[in-house]
């Protein structure tokens, strides 16, 4: 079931003033896809999710689930379908497992509210619990569950009524790091298997990259950009996206020449060959973004120098040994370049090194540089 969001705005009035949580947001979530709303706290992602759920009322705009308009202010008349009539499932950040009920009662609740016959309820609860690998947990009091189990009960409750849409509000953020990684893989399988239109809110880029068909990056109540995980990772057009999803080096740049779709830009560390995010002209100013995994050590111990392009010399300022890799801060002129090398490769602080910034990983963004 497709979710259509058009020009949705929402302002919160608090004691300390008004906050525009959503500014004219438009978005289409394709039927059966997993779409993630990704952004830092306060970017409006949770507000947007709660507007889809009907737990918040937007100030204006239209929200439709399938053919049903669940919210609209079109023509000066407010349409609002209450959350209980929207036919959705939701997994809450706190799980929101009712502590005074058993696992069975928790999962059966949506079916009871729909008036499903008793005999059918038992079977469907069992099916939902089996799906989240909690078969046989029916009689447990909800308070006797671990965090991970509560999270799965919450998921079972969200899917038991076979909703048209499932909403996830940071469902993994209350799990500890190791369990979160395991659950991530499990959740991906479940989402693929279910094939229900899902909207997933998170501030964790790994979760977003791993689970989504499409990532919607948000900032200050607006959509920054959207695309497949690979798109937003490798081919982002906005500095904010590059910075938020992963680690990167940024340099101010001016286009020197445009050739076969590639660009050579002048930067404080010298000319860099890069991929332009959009069509550019000679002389245009912008920002060159280089993800740290596209920066390599060359010269002694590194790849053999083929062409002088994208090669710079510097001195290792700091070398941090972090187990899985070493993080190097290399001083090149006035700027510091960040990169990672294999932990087995020994690099001393103070050492002179040559760096190779791989052209396919250098993006020329037309946004002005500036911290």
């Amino acid at each position: 079931m497709e979710i259509r969001i058009e020009n949705v705005s929402k302002t919160f009035h608090t004691a300390s003033g008004t906050v525009a949580a959503l500014k004219n947001v438009s978005l289409v979530v394709p039927s059966g896809s997993v779409t993630t709303l990704l952004g830092p706290s306060g970017c409006g992602k949770t507000t947007l999710l709660r507007c889809i759920a009907g737990l918040e009322t937007p100030d204006s705009g239209t929200i439709a689930i399938g053919d049903t308009v669940v919210f609209s202010t079109a023509g000066g008349k407010t349409t609002f379908v209450t959350p209980d009539k929207r036919g959705i499932g939701m997994v809450f950040q706190t799980y929101a497992i009712w502590p005074h009920m058993t696992v069975f009662e928790n999962v059966a609740y949506p079916l009871e509210a729909q008036g499903v016959p008793r005999a059918e309820i038992a079977a469907r609860v069992a099916e939902a619990l089996a799906f989240v690998q909690l078969a046989g947990f029916e009689k447990r009091p909800a308070t006797a569950l671990s965090g991970g189990q509560q999270q799965r009960v919450s998921l079972a409750r969200a899917i038991v009524s076979r909703p048209r849409v499932i909403l996830f509000d940071e469902p993994l953020s209350n799990l500890d790091a190791k369990l979160r990684e395991e659950t991530r893989a499990h959740l991906r399988q479940l989402l693929k298997h279910l094939g229900i239109t899902s909207v997933y809110v998170t501030h964790d880029r790994y979760e977003a990259l791993a689970l989504s068909d499409e990532i919607v990056v948000m900032k200050d109540g607006e959509i920054v950009e959207r695309g497949t995980p690979e798109d937003v990772y490798f081919r982002a057009c906005r500095r904010f996206t590059v910075d938020f999803i992963g680690k990167a080096n940024f340099f101010p740049g001016t286009v020197r020449e445009v050739r076969n779709g590639a660009v050579v830009a002048d930067t404080p560390i010298g000319p860099l060959q890069c991929q332009p995010a959009e069509a550019v002209t000679v002389g245009q100013r912008g920002t060159v973004a280089v993800r740290i995994e596209f920066v390599e050590l060359s010269g002694p111990g590194g790849a053999e120098a083929a062409s002088p392009l994208n090669r710079v010399h510097g001195r290792v300022e700091t070398a941090l040994f972090l187990g899985e890799y070493r993080e190097l801060h290399v001083r090149v002129g006035d700027v510091t370049i960040l990169l990672r090398v294999h932990p087995a490769q020994s690099v001393r602080e103070g050492e002179q090194v040559e760096l190779y910034l791989r052209p396919e990983g250098c993006r020329f963004l037309t946004e002005a540089s500036g911290e």
């Binding site: 950040q93 799980y95 009712w98």
Partner: protein
Amino acid sequence: MHRSRTWFLTTSLVVVVGALTLAPALMLIVGSFSEGLGAFGTFTLEKYRRVYTDPRLYDVVWNTVIFTVGSALIATAMAFGLAYLNFRTDVPFRGVLHLMPIVSMMIPHLAFATAWALLLNPNNGIINVFLRDTLGLGAINIYTLGGMVFVESLLDLPVAYLVIAAAMSSFDTALEEASWISGGSTRRTMRKIVLPMLLPAILAAVTLAIIRSLSAFAVPSVLGMPGRVEVLTTYVYRLVTTGFVPDYGRAAAVGVSVLATAVVLVFIYRYYTRASERFVTIAGRGYRPRRVSLGPWRWPLGALTLLVGFLLIVLPVLALGYVSLMPYVIAPGREALSMVTLNHWKTVLGDPLLARALRNSVFLAVSGATLGILLSTLASYIIVRERNTGSAILETLVFTSFAFPGLIIGIGFMWAFVRTSLYATIWALLVGYIATYLPLGIRPLTSTFIQIGKDLEDASYISGAGFWRTFRRVVAPLALPGMVSGWTLMAVMFVRELDLSVILARPGTEVLSVLMYRAVHDALWGRVAALGMIMITISTTLTLISNWLAKRLSARWAATA
């Protein structure tokens, strides 16, 4: 949640709570400008002119200031000391301090004041007899302003303690530790860090204690009337009970000032409570505050905390129990032991008036608390969950009524009821009780609703449940422990209720406290003591049952998260 769902509920609650709290206050004002109860007559300023030109009134006001401020300051100082000992030191018997506020609630103020009269009256007070005959010392006269301040400060102590203890228990000791690390001595830390941060809570406690003392009637009437020390409540009471025609108009004219003062004070109290909450720091897990070692002072200070518990609970109950078994007030000893009699109990229990009063009191406690808690549950829910004008009005109404002195608002109720069929019925008392004590039900439930995460309700709406199903299946069951403790609080207050009852009770609708009040003024001490013990027993039983119930309920779904 969408506005339209609770619009109807919010509006109805504003109307009901508004009627309950504003009607008596407005009728008090209207009454003060009218010619008399029953016939409002033409608008007149006569009552104001007569009462505010009464030269006695200035003594009364002066007494009231000393009585309220004195007892509030003493109570708060004791409360701060006890709270500090309890939360920050290794003083022994800390359990006593935890139980003190709850246990002291079971003793009706009238019984408490009477017990102290029995212990310290200048003629045959039990302690005085001991001081005079055994130690050869002079007697202490409790029938003085000083005596009243002392007894009232003991009654204000649990209230002040709860306010300060709440602030102190959420006080992050790292702030104290940081001062020590920075070279601050214990005294400097206390003066520069602890006191300034607790100051709003201390001022809130003082203000609350003043409000309570201002509306106090039991202590001034039991201990003040024999020595002719009048405060505003007893002055007002005398206006409506003496003379050929009770003058409700003059009483209302004074009452308006008392009410206005109380309302101003309650907003000051709110200001300090909010200031205090700004300093609240939630301590992390496994947090164990370092306790100051008292060294050689440990046991003497422990003995001091026991003494407070003794003066507050044990001594008054012992005095009442003892006097109820004596033919007349006599110092304990071998002679007294041989005179033990159940006569007072027989008289009291055989009195048909008592049977009726007991029925009335139990009826009011049970039905009043039940209706009161239902209203409180819905109102607290709206106050916590809805952020709109209706809920703000509701919150302010409830909060304002927290200031209302029972005796004064009772006079307002007289005007409100006098020309209705409710007048002189048990229903008048029921309505009055619920209106006056509504804030006591709202408080525990508000904190309950704040603790119940909103997600639990949202999850129900998402699951396809509407408002009432959600309320019935999710909200109400989770609020049940809070409802039970709010119910207990209200029921216990209704059993001991005196201030409204002395105004509103009429022949046939007497309650236990009114019977006891009459016995006090007829100096029937044995009977007073027996009645006091009966009231304490009812309160204790109610509390034990509902505590057991609340514990069982919350154990069933104690959230492990």
